[in-house]
């Protein structure tokens, strides 16, 4: 049952709002009144409701079941957070209102910032980055600014080969060359190889910890020391902070900057692709270079916003500047703080423990069935990594298994990432899954593994059979991209 496009059912003259049919006064438009048609169709309100309700029902979501996407941390999104973000006092205030009229909003930002600093053991935080990758950029710009301020603009950033693609992209965006560090056989950064690459040209390292193989970098303190000794800075990709929140403070490991994906660790909804929010915590060495704006509680108890004007005349003169208009993702801040306050210090520790426990449970229950290349490297953290070695010779791929999972009622796990493992399957259950749901998931994966071994090829090659659509032709989509509805297409 395909749902037509709004362009196929609506019309230019229909509308789902009741606005007066006022005639546009054109005398003050400088002769620029729009004459060309927009050709954007309208629908009445009931049609709109149905159109989007039906569309929604073609999606899979965390509210429907387990979403085992490794490295993506799809956890329960409490509706309290949604309710709080919609309080008028947060949702209905303008970013440029006089500060005296938004003291509660500024207070909220400070409270969240204080939690993030305490949980990471780091003295400063930049709240404005709009997403994880934006946070990476923020951290790397601070590193670059620090080197420039030292009069020593280095050229190279080291990135482990297991890193998220955003890491090298970000380093490049800041004008750095990227040098890759190999992994050891047990799935961690090769400390000796790293040391061999350090030198006066190295601005720093971008490292993910826990890493994308789901392992804690045991040598983290030594890595940081070595980088610092070589005059570099350590950027930590905090995508996996949810595995250690409340258990370890990144500041205690020697990290200089780390972004926090509020949706991964603090449950702001993923929303099918944003909006995100990626605050960045900084060590004291990088704090002076953090971006504008800041919010501070002044000695008189008032909250104040420090923007370009105040920075120029004050203590933030070394800030590398502004990354976004206004002050960041307020709506996400409210949700994250609601989540943090709900858990408290004890609950957040439990979050990490349960996330790690659930992932290890999956790893150990499935290591005899699938191939777990790093099963001997110690406990995993929040995610369990498998490779496709177990199905060699079956003629089937990781992709086929993933698509067959759809027919079993699950969203697939992360596939083909990290790159250090062939046909990777990265499974992250998160802490918001019950044991019964994990057992059911394990049961299904065992069944699929047995089916692979039994040669039930068609069940996999043709999958999914029970989704709203069968496999889609991505090649055709890319060869001659059709990205918008053409004006001349029939209704």
């Amino acid at each position: 049952l395909n749902e037509p496009l709004s362009f196929e059912i609506g019309s230019r003259t229909r509308t789902g709002v009741d606005l007066p049919e006022a005639e546009l006064e054109t005398s003050r438009l400088g002769g620029l009144a729009r004459t060309e048609p927009m050709d954007v169709p309208g629908l009445s309100e009931p049609e709109t409701m149905r159109h989007f309700t039906r569309l929604s029902r073609m999606n899979y979501a965390i509210d429907m079941g387990l979403f085992p996407l490794g490295s993506c941390t799809m956890k329960h999104n409490p509706r309290l957070n949604e309710k709080a973000a919609r309080m008028k006092g947060f949702a209905d205030i303008h970013p440029l209102q006089p500060q005296g009229t938004v003291q509660g909003a500024l207070q909220l930002i400070v409270e969240l910032a204080d939690w993030l600093k305490a949980l990471t053991g780091m003295p400063e935080v930049a709240m404005s980055p709009k997403a994880g990758a934006h946070g990476e950029l923020c951290g790397m710009l601070a590193i670059r600014a620090a080197h420039e301020a030292n009069g020593d603009p280095r050229k190279t950033v080291l990135v482990p080969e297991s890193a998220h693609g955003t890491n090298p992209a970000t380093a490049a965006f800041c004008g750095y060359d990227v040098d890759s560090i190999p992994a050891t056989a047990e799935g961690r950064v090769d400390l000796e190889a790293l040391k061999g690459k350090l030198g006066p040209h190295v601005a720093g390292i971008m490292i993910t910890n826990p890493n994308t193989c789901g392992l804690f970098e045991r040598d983290m303190i030594e890595i940081c020391k070595a980088v610092h000794e070589a005059g570099g800075y350590v950027y930590c990709d905090g995508a996996n902070f949810n595995a250690i929140v409340g258990k370890v403070r990144p500041g205690d490991l020697g990290i200089d900057a780390m972004h926090i994906n509020l949706h991964k660790t603090f449950s702001t909804p993923h929303g099918g692709g944003g909006p995100g929010s990626g605050p960045v915590v900084f060590s004291s060495r990088l704090a002076p270079y953090a971006p504008l704006p800041f919010v501070r509680k002044a000695s008189d108890g008032q909250y104040e916003l420090i923007e370009e004007e105040q920075a120029a005349s004050g203590s933030h003169g070394e800030s590398f500047g502004r990354m976004v208009a206004f002050h960041g993702q307020m709506g996400m801040f409210v949700r994250a703080l609601a989540y943090i306050k709900s858990h408290g210090a004890d609950g957040l520790k439990q979050v990490a423990e349960d996330a790690v426990l659930n992932a290890n449970y999956i790893l150990r229950q499935l290591e005899g069935v699938l191939t777990a290349p790093f099963a001997g490297s110690g406990p995993c953290m929040h995610e369990a990594l498998f490779s496709d070695a177990w199905m060699k010779g079956s003629g089937l791929s990781t992709l086929d298994v993933a698509k067959a999972m759809i027919d079993e009622g699950y969203h697939p796990m992360t596939m083909y990432f990290p790159l250090v493992v062939d046909g990777a399957m990265l499974v992250e259950p998160t802490e918001t899954e019950s044991k019964a749901d994990l057992d059911q998931f394990i049961h299904v994966l065992r069944g699929l593994a047995a089916a692979v071994k039994d040669g039930e090829t068609e069940r996999f090659k043709g999958a999914p059979f029970y989704a709203p659509l069968r496999r889609l032709d991505e090649t055709q989509a890319a060869r001659k991209p059709r990205l918008t509805r053409m004006h001349d297409e029939a209704a």
Binding site: T15, G16, L80, L137, A169, G274, K341, E431
Partner: protein
């Protein structure tokens, strides 16, 4: 803890099943020196939903909201009425709690609305294609500058004086360590056409220019015909980047595409989005088909499934970081999904007819307010062409006047002294935005407030 389904019995059973003595056994790879003993001290423990809600509500009440007060602020963020249907749809769990649609078979809901969104944005801006949205207007803007560099292989961007100063700051920050060159023009307090000096701008376009960035309506609310500038850019092989921060204006004025822009970026918050103290917002990004492979951000495209049925997928991801790593067009790996959905739903409710009416109400009321303000002694309205906001110049520094109004309960505009602190002429200015949301009483209160400070 209400969000954690494991019971203590579950935890024990699971630990036993893997031969672990206790949970810390699983954290043994963490260096002992960095392990925390227990919950971090000083931080409070978990709290009930009621307690958290009450705590946040207390902070919320300390803010003066736009609905509860006569409110006339704009400058890149606008108060419009958002239909209740929009918020219902974006709260449906199937949209709210889904992931990036990498598995198109079970994400057609997200993919199809993205396709509709891209189509709507392209048509409103007068371009051929649009992406699936970006963080916000300011980041779209700097991404457009980078894209122009990739397209033209030139490095000098000219930024007009009417461009939102935050957008200018962001561009400066992100080009600071690359070898891009920015030619940033100062805003002009010109009577009639405040903000940009288009003639000056024209003169700066040369064979080295990768792009010209011009906002329309500009920060001062002024609207201008960009056609001559577009022509000049094209003569010189540069791209014209048009920035739109009030997307409702496209219901009343010529689209940037019609005036010759090559890239249109903007802030889409006005449609479907609330003020939210500045975020999350919605970055719009549109261009023509020929440049699509240099475009940053996520794109959704039409295709067919194994049975030939129409469907949608993310496409052209070879431009993106998860494939191209350090050679990607951008490091961005998300969009502003829910905000794009809100835009799509609201825009579907409006349709062309509704957007035209909405724009007419905004403009007509703004004209009325401008005329009433202009009639006050000591208040000068600078613009002769504007959409729903315009600049007033007072006889003294505007910031203290506006604070004074705020204390009396009227949020009477954005004082430009906050955005341009060092410019004497500008410090006397404020930008007043008028939308469909102000009542006649609100307008009366505004007039009275200006009469009060001008007197």
């Amino acid at each position: 803890m209400r969000y954690l389904p494991l019971t203590d019995t579950d935890r024990r059973t699971m630990l036993e099943s893997m031969g672990a003595a206790d949970i810390d056994d699983l954290f043994r790879d963490v260096p002992a020196a960095a392990r925390l003993d227990g919950p971090i001290g000083d931080l409070p423990a978990h709290a009930s939903e009621m307690a958290v809600e009450r705590d946040l509500a207390r902070m919320a009440r300390r803010n003066k909201t736009a609905s509860d007060t006569p409110f006339f602020l704009g400058c890149g963020a606008y108060k419009h009425h958002v239909p209740a249907t929009v918020d219902y749809i974006i709260q449906r769990g199937e949209f709210l709690t889904s992931y990036t649609p990498y598995q198109p078979e079970i994400a057609q809901g997200t993919l199809q609305y993205l396709f509709e969104f891209q189509s709507q944005v392209a048509r409103l801006t007068g371009m051929e294609v649009a992406n699936a949205s970006m963080y916000d207007g300011s980041t779209s803007c700097v991404e457009a500058i980078f894209m122009a560099r990739r397209v033209t292989r030139r490095k000098k961007a000219v930024l007009s004086g009417g461009l939102h100063p935050h957008y200018v700051s962001v561009a400066k920050t992100l080009t600071h360590f690359t070898d891009d060159e920015l030619d940033v023009m100062a805003p002009k307090v010109l009577s009639g056409a405040p903000g940009d000096d288009l003639d000056d701008l024209l003169a700066r376009v040369d064979d080295e220019t990768s792009c010209v960035v011009v906002q329309n309506p500009n920060l001062f609310g002024h609207i201008a015909d960009l056609s001559a500038l577009a022509e000049r850019c094209h003569e010189k092989g540069a791209l014209l980047i048009a920035v739109v921060t009030e997307v409702v204006s496209l219901g009343a004025i010529k689209s940037p595409g019609e005036m010759g822009a090559d890239i249109v970026v903007g802030e889409g918050q006005s449609i479907g989005g609330g003020l939210n103290f500045g975020g999350p917002y919605l970055g719009l990004f549109a261009c023509n088909q020929k440049h699509v492979r240099q475009m940053p951000g996520r794109l959704c495209g039409e295709t067919v499934d194994a049975e030939g049925r129409r469907g949608y997928v993310l496409t052209l991801s070879t431009r993106e970081q998860h494939i191209r790593r350090e050679k990607a067009t951008s490091n961005i790996c998300t969009n502003s999904g829910l905000m794009a959905l809100a835009f799509t739903v609201h825009m579907t409710l409006l349709g062309e007819e509704g957007l035209r009416r909405l724009a007419a109400v905004n403009h007509n009321r703004a004209v009325e307010v401008a005329d009433r303000l202009a009639a006050i002694d000591g208040v000068t309205v600078l613009n002769d062409a504007f959409f729903n906001e315009f600049t007033v110049q007072l006889e003294g520094e505007s910031r203290s006047h506006l604070r004074q109004m705020a204390e009396a309960g009227v949020l009477g505009g954005v004082s430009l002294g906050r955005l341009y602190p060092d410019d004497g002429a500008i410090e006397r200015c404020a930008v007043v935005a008028v939308t469909e949301t102000q009542t006649d009483e609100d307008i009366g209160a505004l007039i009275e407030a200006y009469e009060g400070v001008a007197a």
